[in-house]
Assembly symmetry: C2
Homo-oligomer: 325 residues x 2
Amino acid sequence: MSRNSRNRLGEFELIAQLFAPLATSRAALGLRDDVALLRAPNGRELVLTTDAIVEAVHFLPNDPPRSVAQKALRANLSDLAAKGADPIGYLMAIAIPSRVSTRWLNAFCAGLRADQKTYAISLLGGDTTRIAGPLTVAITMIGSVPRKKALRREGARPGDLVFVSGTIGDAGCGLELLKTKRRGPQFLIKRFRVPQPRLTLGRALRGLATSSIDVSDGLLADLGHIAEVSGVRIAMRADEVPLSSGVREIWGHGRLAVIRAATAGDDYEVAFTCRPESARKVREAALWAKTRITEIGVVERGKGVELLDARGKAIRTGRRGYTHF
Amino acid sequence: MSRNSRNRLGEFELIAQLFAPLATSRAALGLRDDVALLRAPNGRELVLTTDAIVEAVHFLPNDPPRSVAQKALRANLSDLAAKGADPIGYLMAIAIPSRVSTRWLNAFCAGLRADQKTYAISLLGGDTTRIAGPLTVAITMIGSVPRKKALRREGARPGDLVFVSGTIGDAGCGLELLKTKRRGPQFLIKRFRVPQPRLTLGRALRGLATSSIDVSDGLLADLGHIAEVSGVRIAMRADEVPLSSGVREIWGHGRLAVIRAATAGDDYEVAFTCRPESARKVREAALWAKTRITEIGVVERGKGVELLDARGKAIRTGRRGYTHF
């Protein structure tokens, strides 16, 4: 790796020294061409998703470069997880302000490299440009899924049970700690910076979940997407929303903590529905995937999402979710 | 379309009102999901490429929104053209500063819509985020090509002839007119704002061209990529570089005009090589594609690219190309 300052590292050197070694798949043509050439594995279809992360919107200027890279990849991997897809690789368009050093970019690429290994993916193509503004990383992630087996947002039916993986609100709580410089469990900050896409769970839910979504805009907002696209109502029990001990420590044990958690962003958990008769198999699948899941509600006729108290009364929540817009 | 100010149009409204109508392919799932589902047509492989355009780097703040959209798509379509690929659709991650109005975005989407029709492509997926900085549009374009028929940068062999489509330097000259506010042929400005990807020509060159690249960084720099990846030297005749009457009007008839043209960016023409015995078929293919091509040099043993004068002497050119970095 070069020790030149970034100003002396032009676009082609950047690509050759930093990015080309990440193009481990044959499809990437070693980044020596403009394009990637790809065939879908037999009997499968490709799943494509794009998500950009922007400095000061999705990550903080002082976040470690390694975790910025991981968050960029994992936000996209989480979309694949919610579809039950297996990742293949990604294309990256990165806009780099001149103040970013080669050292920073090296650490960023180390984060990409680590996650490429973790998730068995390859850089397939890229574009590097300068920007007089915030660092911006746009990733297009490509995966595959057996034909007609992709989990979708539509498909939830009245009577279905609603589940969510992991715990909710950790990342939002971690972001608050970072912004207010308040002390708190490091676990929460890690959850904001390095999401854990639930790929193994998603894969295990193929043929079991009736609908599925990754929770990135807030649990209430994302269940709202399922409700809207499926044409149903979702009733969620506030007491069942899984909160970590860290969130309890910072946001307390009251109802407000649940509302804050269910409207915070960046969870990158999977929320899904299934027929009641599939519940046992779903729980087995989660055990197999070593991923905690919690039953949090039911699907009903109607529309929208409601957060209910212990007596079944609707709780007013104000805003629905966290918007990156 | 809404006449609300952009500030009142949230992310979901933007997607529903402006972007969802652009998702005309079934694969896009109506943008009602996070992902696109895609199968490669029978006997074909997919070609993927990504290119971002950033305000003040690739387009000017006052450029018409319609042409900004077209440039974002066409820069990517040009990559497909150089591979001989047929476009299918695209994913778009757009980062929008708050000063951008809904009116601007409407016109931007009208540009996308027009080009979707021209090139028979669909929006397949997207991501919308805000940015405290320049408007940034990252496109991942997907096409397909018959298996093993993609044109590549590697493959040029000593003895091959070198061709380029269209005329060179128009866009760079147009950018200069815009920046210096000098009067000149509007054609040059149009060439900067709305490239013409040579898709029909690229398709016709399948099986004929031994190597191919789209000219976006400057003719000399891009032929340099072919030379490097193919392990050959390219000797280009300065007098043969095709310059438009507009470029002659602004940059004159001397050698400097050729150097400026061959090192300017944003041409989005196709440069390619072929065996001498294929030259007749190549010229027929170009006629069929209604695209002007010019023979500009030969491939030799060695490395690098050389611009030669009428006596075969190398011309010093200084910089090699235009870098967006």
